[in-house]
Symmetry: C2
Subunit: 206 residues, 2 copies
């Protein structure tokens, strides 16, 4: 089961010419550790969306070692990105990458439960979800009051390896499907799902 034709995906990956040695190092680390990162195509998409949105505050729920946050930080004009992560070794790795990339002043690094930490912030302009798939809906329900008036919610893995269209589905897939239906029914939000890599949901508060 694939989402995008693999040949097309290769073509998409072949087009960008810009090189960022730190992002490449992070990509290599992700592949080496088999650690799920959003990867280049989604990273570039996040960068574009952030440039258009020009946010003051981005909060990530689930940052890993900081790959998506690095793209967000690169796109920030003013403002900052808050990384949350429950594994100390990941957050320390992220800090080092941000230091080397001169992006450390654009980021806060927080260790602990992403939803709990995110709920400390008000007026979140971009809320990025990349936590346990079973907790996506919980994250939105808890954090809706913390969003700014034209906030964006961006969620990764919403096509869940294509399992959302399979007949027999596990609990994680069920949770993702419920989350997707929930987001597309949420009053005052306009949602678009992009079939980049594992699926990205973008929901704009109107």
């Amino acid at each position: 089961m694939f989402i995008t034709n693999p040949q097309i995906e290769e073509y998409l990956k072949s087009l960008p010419k810009e090189k960022d040695p730190i992002l490449e190092e992070m990509e290599n680390l992700g592949h080496k550790l088999n650690f799920p990162i959003v990867d280049k195509l989604v990273g570039r998409f996040l960068y574009l969306i952030t440039k258009l949105k020009n946010p003051q505050l981005i909060v990530e729920v689930g940052s890993g070692f900081g790959y998506s946050a690095y793209w967000f930080a690169k796109a920030l004009n003013k403002g900052k990105v808050v990384l949350t992560e429950y594994r100390e070794e990941n957050i320390n790795l992220a800090k080092k990458f941000f230091e080397r990339g001169n992006l450390i002043d654009k980021a806060d690094f927080r260790l602990g439960d992403g939803i709990e930490i995110a709920s400390e912030y008000k007026n979140i302009d971009i809320l990025f979800l990349d936590l346990e798939k079973r907790r996506y809906k919980e994250a939105i329900e808890k954090l809706l009051p913390n969003l700014s008036s034209n906030a964006l919610i961006i969620a990764d893995n919403v096509l869940w390896h294509g399992k959302v269209v399979e007949e027999e589905i596990d609990n994680q897939t069920k949770a993702i499907k419920e989350f997707n239906e929930f987001m597309f029914s949420l009053p005052n939000f306009f949602s678009v799902m992009i079939p980049l890599r594992d699926g990205v949901l973008v929901s704009l508060k109107e």
Copy 2:
């Protein structure tokens, strides 16, 4: 050859709940006439991008009977969208749809060569390309001076039914591939290709 797994594409189409009777009528007309429109998924993506960009001036090069322009107009706050089309019956159809949807004040309808007409405008915030595929690059080369400082270029059909990855390619496919390479090499532009329907290129002037 498909770009996105057809089951996934069906899933993506099943999610949105909003109904717009005029857009549905336009979609039905497109399917009935076998007239290439960007269709719902790309239309929604254009709406999202336009909401984020908040442009004053959108110029379309190649409008058909106005389906993509209708999504642009719906998303406009202030500002307007210029439709260009060389077939009078299409531009008249577009006018009628916009009148019925109360969007007529947000649009200019221009009959003639899209590139020529677009070159009359300055400070274009979003330039949308959906003309003959062999003329995409020509359009950019002529219209770069007419773009505003943070303009977006959006081009449809950049994966051209997936033909961009085939070994033996026709002249149209060759032209699209050259255009894609050109856009990803264009100084001061950051480009992202989205595998929605037939492929959408979004390039941001930085």
